[in-house]
Symmetry: D2
Subunit: 352 residues, 4 copies
Amino acid sequence: MDNRKRLRDLGIKIGKFKTGKLNSITDIRDVTVGHKTIMTNLPNGRSVRTGVTAILPHKGNLFKEKVIGSSYIINGFGKSTGTIQLEELGVLESPIMLTNTLSVSSVTEGTIRHLLNENDDIGHEAGTVNVVVGECNDGFLNDIRGLHVRPEHATEAILSANKDVEEGCIGAGTGMSCLGFKGGIGTSSRVTTVEGSDYTLGALVLTNFGKKEDILLPGSNKRIHNDKERKNLPDGSIMIVLATDAPFNERQLRRISKRAAFGLSRTGSSAAHGSGDIVLSFSTAHKIPHYSTGPTQSFSFLVEDGPIISDFFEMTVEAVEEAIWNSMCKATTMVGHNGNVSEQFPYHLLLN
Amino acid sequence: MDNRKRLRDLGIKIGKFKTGKLNSITDIRDVTVGHKTIMTNLPNGRSVRTGVTAILPHKGNLFKEKVIGSSYIINGFGKSTGTIQLEELGVLESPIMLTNTLSVSSVTEGTIRHLLNENDDIGHEAGTVNVVVGECNDGFLNDIRGLHVRPEHATEAILSANKDVEEGCIGAGTGMSCLGFKGGIGTSSRVTTVEGSDYTLGALVLTNFGKKEDILLPGSNKRIHNDKERKNLPDGSIMIVLATDAPFNERQLRRISKRAAFGLSRTGSSAAHGSGDIVLSFSTAHKIPHYSTGPTQSFSFLVEDGPIISDFFEMTVEAVEEAIWNSMCKATTMVGHNGNVSEQFPYHLLLN
Amino acid sequence: MDNRKRLRDLGIKIGKFKTGKLNSITDIRDVTVGHKTIMTNLPNGRSVRTGVTAILPHKGNLFKEKVIGSSYIINGFGKSTGTIQLEELGVLESPIMLTNTLSVSSVTEGTIRHLLNENDDIGHEAGTVNVVVGECNDGFLNDIRGLHVRPEHATEAILSANKDVEEGCIGAGTGMSCLGFKGGIGTSSRVTTVEGSDYTLGALVLTNFGKKEDILLPGSNKRIHNDKERKNLPDGSIMIVLATDAPFNERQLRRISKRAAFGLSRTGSSAAHGSGDIVLSFSTAHKIPHYSTGPTQSFSFLVEDGPIISDFFEMTVEAVEEAIWNSMCKATTMVGHNGNVSEQFPYHLLLN
Amino acid sequence: MDNRKRLRDLGIKIGKFKTGKLNSITDIRDVTVGHKTIMTNLPNGRSVRTGVTAILPHKGNLFKEKVIGSSYIINGFGKSTGTIQLEELGVLESPIMLTNTLSVSSVTEGTIRHLLNENDDIGHEAGTVNVVVGECNDGFLNDIRGLHVRPEHATEAILSANKDVEEGCIGAGTGMSCLGFKGGIGTSSRVTTVEGSDYTLGALVLTNFGKKEDILLPGSNKRIHNDKERKNLPDGSIMIVLATDAPFNERQLRRISKRAAFGLSRTGSSAAHGSGDIVLSFSTAHKIPHYSTGPTQSFSFLVEDGPIISDFFEMTVEAVEEAIWNSMCKATTMVGHNGNVSEQFPYHLLLN
């Protein structure tokens, strides 16, 4: 994977805002990302090409020190879990976990076991814990019916979290395909300055949507081919995780989350029927203690009467579009289940 | 449990509509219910008091012959799963499964395994399958941290489904408590006649909410005690499953689902903060094939310009209230985890 | 109307929490309520029995000093306006106006004209203003097709706002009927103490829903008659306005708003098909300036990890139920359009 | 306006699907569009540059013969009205009206008066009527504080409805600006064939959003200038109306409505904070009678298991993007309120 480049390394920039230092969701201080990749070959042409990715809002106890979060369903043909409570209470109390569609349950169980180990009081005086898991269907390259992701793989992904986000065929992205080529994990970030304070917004995507004919090339808006082919393949999905250190509340985060669809659109997607397209977002600016220390908690949030929040909307659109392209630019050709092949995206298409 | 009675056997009727033959969700033809009860005593005072309940919309292949469904979140402090796709597509393609909060993942996995066995094409040309699971926290009586529900228990609940719905301390209801007494599973139904056709609406509830002080007694609206006690216990939850053979579409089912809150209210609940109160509903009137046979499908739905749908709203309110009372009237005193005791509801409170 | 009493004056208390001093939405400091009643008799049996009610969150410039607000649609068969922006931005920037269904437009125009007069910058650098108006159908007693409410009536209601809330046949409640009797405006409040601070929650309702057969009497849960009569009358509606001085954010206010349905249920409603049942809520604890003074604003909100918010849920249920009963207990028999008569609620039904 | 061209006349095509005969929302049989343009110059530099646009789903009695409809809020900073009932009941029973932000009330009143004239039973046995009105803020060119749109203008727009949709500075579009140039009304359509049957989807937009720097040129994805200018102007809005003759239900229409955001994104919008971006949609395939003739109604809907609905998603994206460009390509330079000028879009920017 070493010789594969990110979009910017190919000389293509998206948008007006500058990126963070790493051009990654981990440009948000405290945010780390871990991957567990699961690849083996089994008898009879069955191949395991799958994994787990964990996004941690901070390095402390995520259940005891929650962060404000939100979500948005672009297209709900999907099996993600944990959004009901996230929407009701406006807080995230687990890592955000990504995996394949039929492994949401084992990743949930593994994450619960990890959180039970860290918190003796869950299930007793602390109540229960809400785990958020997103998914895409990697069944083209992966023996998804084999349920090869086990609970301990979730723990491994969590424990491996760090600031260097590998992209492409890694973690939950191992077996994913996007826009007719190999997809997977991608990330990007944007920075703005508000009256002397720098704020960063980062996106991490798990890409598994679309067909070649859908592609809108960045910087040229050209299509690779323009004919409408009618195929009956599953439509794939995309999971989009947004993180920011800017102080936004859950309603503001939801507004930001909705703009992820605008970035997705610019790559050529129209959120096809079978594509479960889900956005999960959080701000690290405030921590909400599980056991409050008084009857009230104080917050400071960015105001909404001027262009500030609109800048974050644009930063979201830009970061999501670039993260998607990074997932494709970094991914390498993969041979998988039943000999299916997903080709890496050829850079010359971008550079013409 | 034999000597415990249902509310009607105690001479108390709720509402204006007549009940179905069984006064049960299984009065809807084709609907069956199965339970798997898990009760053991472990060393060190740990007790297993939990289980799984499965509601099957029909006896055929639920994935290949979907039913129209909907959901409504009364209070989203909960970990139910499967509602994102249910809302997006308006169809239910799995049994509705109920269990304890931390076992949603293993019940999901067990149900997925069951559906994979039944359908060779899931994960391949058929795409993936969406499993709907609801939950309440039985940690007062059950060693919930032990994760004692395993995937195979889900399959057992599904395979045991039949027309006789046991109530009280059974299946997912084994370890639940309600309104200060022992709760669990309850069911009830209502019938109406629309221009010569009989239609039935049934409710099945998993009750685990509220305190004694909340109780509003049916038929008298008296309270058992009126003092406001401030306690800091977990608030519990209720799962409400509604089924009907009346031809309603997904929007109409959602309207009906919202009325479940009205029935819940009449038992004394105000949907306390920590109570995950979720409604899941479906109609058996139409089946949606997984592989369509043509570009369109024909439907017939009840019209909405007169009192017909309002009758179903009232039937829902009545059936939910009565199902909750049945869950308490049928439940028996349970000694559980750490020696905690949940007392059965004493009938004399109703009869004064 | 002088000899009509409120529910508590008849010796009936609802719930566990104590009321505010006035048992009114105006127990929240700064909240005032104004009414404009429009009653005339026209030729050919046409009668005008309608009006406007205005709820003002505070006495200052409501557009320049917004309050945090939310809404909840119990049943959306209604023509209320202004909730789209209220939900998107989480702030209320106008009085909450109530009137009859076909007069929402003229009340909106009158309120816009009032706010334009107060704010030279609306339509220019301040952008536009969002007016929130709720409605019920008073066509049984009022010549609703005559569109007798004019824009200036809205201004009159706003300018007459004060702390004494008249109830029954007044303002928007003039021509409304409820549960088979005369309805209209009602109000009630509840108080709680959180670590030494008193907080008040008040409800004001415009009642126009239900039939005699629906009634659940407070304190006895008896019905007046139990037979199911099938009638094809319009189903009416209820508008519920909630105000509090407790510091809640827009998500928390929405959770509180949902509990209004629980209070409505306890009077016997099941939110019939044609009943537009809408909840509007706000907190006076924080003011959001139209022109911010810096990039961030600080807030303090009540925490959600204990029983505090559940207390507000119960206070809401109690205040809504009592406000509905106050609207009926205070209303007097009204003869209206085409000689239609709506009888006042006879107290003896309560006192048996 | 005669010498202004549509996008296709300039040689630029968007997307893969073919257009309808007129490339207009009126390619859907029965759909007609009417405009009322209001332009006068008043003393003191005040200029009236506003109007009303009416979209009629069919030529019959819209209240008595409703169509299935839905809506989607891309960004809710707006004062549109009528969506609460549209979402609850899934039917549209009025023309869709478009106007300026502060004139929603007078257009509502005018439309109500028109519908009262057509229907003696509204306000009596027929209940009340729900009018749907969308809006954008034309205050840059129009004396919006003057409230120059009166109720009779709404009626004039309705009565003038026909199959030829004028675009640009017409009707509600008279005073609107878009992406730094003159905007207004635009329309476009797409056609697909499903097993021998042709289905059309059309979009009509009222464009008033964005800045020059946002523009993404169609067919090249170039920007006109790439610098981020921070300005504090109001953000404008867009209203998007979608119509189809394909048989979709209200849930399916909502899914289609969400894809309008994808088309909007491709013109460069990221749905800025102050931009009220609303989608309204309907299908003419079925009529829902106000007074039903029996307890059930039969429907036929397009199936959702294959690529059919995804094609409609793409058609929506294409038609919305092209309709926006048509609104700009057809609009002419307008001098308005306080001498403000909105320049027409110069074609050479497209053709480089």
